[in-house]
Symmetry: C2
Subunit: 297 residues, 2 copies
């Protein structure tokens, strides 16, 4: 049985298709990795790539991708809606098969160290790989962004885990192991973004809401509706159905209902099976043995 890791790096280019294509092409050309998804956002000027592979091919692909991003993306000229600190802004690794979180943490540290050694790109270890409290959360590491990072890194608190000075054009990168993240949006039967914002505030972890849920209220211009935009950082702790049911309950206060939802990119099978199990009220279901495909993986 092979170990499989998923990698979902975010690169700071969402507009120049030639640059995006070249970086994607380099990953696709790496033997032993399978490219699964590209999602670019022009207003963010940022792309999310998804690929999977065994540890050694994965390491090679991440190095090749980073080399290309450093060569092709200059943060000094980068503008976009989304906060960023590097040409490759973040490199999350998710253990998919035959690998536990600790092994994936070790893998992320090996790759992080090589990124500094090989390309002089300073690395902050984050999420499960974080080496001190206050570094689990990417937003905390990235605060100040590329432009403020040189000064931030002079403090002992924000010394990178690998490296000591910012890369002049490519900035810094966060590398770490984490659970699969599900990008999940819930569309509401209102165009009033304030309703989405109020609901987002009540369901997210910070607001007395659910664990492992990040949520924002946004307005979707093309559909003239308000959306609760959610990152579920651990579907094993907080399942999809619980978020949907809580949003439905909170929406009632506003006389609003759920029009539909979206999963952006990929979701693990178990996240969907958990919700089927809940809604179908299946008793004593063993998802490790009773889902046929589990025996084929």
């Amino acid at each position: 049985m092979a170990k499989i890791i998923e990698c979902v790096p975010n690169i700071s280019e969402g507009r120049n298709q030639q640059v995006i294509d070249e970086i994607v092409g380099i990953i696709k050309a790496c033997p032993g990795v399978t490219f699964l998804d590209l999602s670019s956002d022009t207003s963010h000027n940022r792309s999310v790539l998804t690929f999977i592979g065994e540890p050694e091919p994965m390491e090679n692909a991440v190095l090749a991708m980073t080399e290309a991003a450093i060569r092709l993306i200059d943060l000094r000229k980068h503008r976009g809606q989304h906060p960023r600190m590097g040409a490759v802004d973040v490199i999350p690794f998710i253990p998919i098969k035959e690998m536990d979180m600790q092994e994936c943490v070790d893998f992320s540290k090996r790759v992080g160290n090589r990124l500094w050694q090989k390309y002089q790109l300073p690395v902050f270890l984050y999420e499960a790989s974080a080496t001190r409290p206050g570094r689990q959360n990417l937003a905390d590491i990235r605060r100040g962004e590329f432009e403020g990072m040189t000064e931030k890194m002079t403090s002992e608190e924000w010394k990178p885990d690998y490296g000591d000075s910012l890369h002049p054009s490519a900035g810094a990168v966060a590398v770490g192991a984490r659970e699969a993240l599900i990008a999940f949006n819930i569309n509401l039967s209102t165009s009033n973004v304030e309703v989405a914002k109020a609901i987002a505030k009540t369901i997210r972890t910070g607001g007395g809401g659910l664990s492992c849920v990040k949520a924002l209220g946004i307005f979707l211009e093309e559909r003239n509706l308000a959306q609760v935009s959610i990152n579920m950082t651990n579907y094993k702790i907080t399942p999809l159905y619980r978020v949907v049911e809580l949003v439905k309950a909170e929406a009632k206060r506003w006389g609003v209902h759920v029009l539909g939802t979206e999963i952006v990119g990929l979701a693990p099978m178990d996240a969907l099976v958990d919700s089927a199990e809940y809604y179908l009220q299946i008793e004593n279901f063993n998802k490790e043995t009773q889902v046929l495909e589990k025996h084929l993986l």
Copy 2:
């Protein structure tokens, strides 16, 4: 990419554990097949086995299993609640991976032919492998059971597809390719079996209900409740959630609700993902590309 077939044979022994163990052991000892599930019913005096493998190992395992069942099970002495016509009563093949239904039909015919050639066991091709109308349905083939089969087979209509005379102790077998079947039970908040029977009648295919649904109302003595016991013969046509929602709607007429459900044995991932998609109201979901594990199969 390897072709994978699932086989779910029913053998006419559900009481003598030694015989069951020997037959299961013979399948487990076959290289290249993975044994997934055994479910024996003493009142039926019948066992359902589930295993998967590539075509060639699968063919060998089915031959080895049949040889053992012929040697160990004597239909002349068999008594049980469930209708049966053979020591191995039915051998369904389900195309799981890299194989379409027609290829699985061809496979079932090759295996069926060998069962007659090698063991003088007459074979009726059924379901997608049926060679004439009226032979898709196992119940029609089996009507008359072991005891009536010698006479039934003398008519032109019921001449076996392979072979011409009943095996003296092992009877006959139905062999065919079909879609995955899901054994799905719905427990009701009543001990009145008449309610379960009435609901079963309204939801099943014959009663103006849903396509590809077989249903019976039964009384579960150990839990003192009524259950709608369902075989879903094609979850791609009639999904799980539709059956649950229709049972809920029909149950209302009796002031009854659904306590819970059970999946007996295995279910394909897609059957569960379909229901998650429905209940979570996921828009534009592509289950071929957006479920991570699809890329690992």
